[in-house]
Symmetry: C2
Subunit: 156 residues, 2 copies
């Protein structure tokens, strides 16, 4: 299978300067403000995006170094299959976040709820269109209940 080469379309700026600073799940990034500095050549592609309250970002986990097939997530005490986690150390270190879009000024997007590191290379922006909302039952596997407990500072 052939290799795929991507080029950053911009840079994410956030308050998180190192992996120790960054929230472990987007739920913990609520109200964290950041910006996206888009390569100005793509500014026309932002047209109409300001109509959306939320946008999906795909980015490069640029601090990722290698991966293991099983990992112990921060939310858990057991080894879990890598693809059942959001660990940044993946075969293809791609990150995914849904953030709130506050405003766009030229090539700068003002966002909230960002959990990515400062300086993260951005690969794509898509409008966020909720799927399955109020439509289907969702099962959350090993994560079930753990996020709520963590938000309530309960023992996991």
């Amino acid at each position: 299978m052939s290799k795929i080469t991507l080029i950053p379309i911009g840079i994410i700026h956030s308050p998180f300067k190192s992996r120790n600073d960054a929230p472990i799940q987007p739920h913990f990034a609520k109200d964290i403000c950041g910006t996206i500095e888009l390569n100005p050549k793509f500014t026309p592609a932002l047209k109409d995006l300001d109509g959306f309250s939320h946008i999906t970002l795909i980015y490069h986990f640029h601090k990722s170094e290698g991966y293991k097939l099983e990992v112990k997530p921060f939310l858990d005490n057991h080894l879990r299959g890598l693809f059942a986690t959001r660990s940044p150390n993946r075969p293809n270190p791609l990150g995914l976040s849904v953030v709130r879009l506050d405003k766009i000024e030229s090539n700068i997007l003002y966002i909230r709820d960002i959990d990515a590191l400062d300086g993260t290379p951005l690969l794509d922006i898509k409008p966020f269109i909720p799927e399955f909302t109020n439509r289907e039952e969702i099962r959350l596997g090993w994560i079930n209940g753990k996020i709520k407990k963590r938000l309530n500072h309960e023992k996991i």
Copy 2:
């Protein structure tokens, strides 16, 4: 900004053999069955994934050829900024779908609601964890109402 090189972790199989066959939005792919043939070296990374009802797939739009900064989406009659659409023709041709996970047998994942083309190179699998569900108001910009109309075969 430096280039990023990715390698497929597997192949998506679906009934859609060409872009003309493929649904234009995941909403239209409901109940469409497909499989993921994961590179067997990654099989241990699937552990615990079967606890999740839905998974997020990031894949390569391998039939994408170039891009324009404004496009006329299938759901619409106006030119829209590329990043306000899900067009496969993007600076980094990355696709994103949330699908239902029916079962996993060794390195084969049986999925539903798949809208990707047959033969699509898969880049990442993440557990689907709903965000914003029942939590915040979502604005859908130019798409608002169009999906429902299309599902009801109304004029857009």
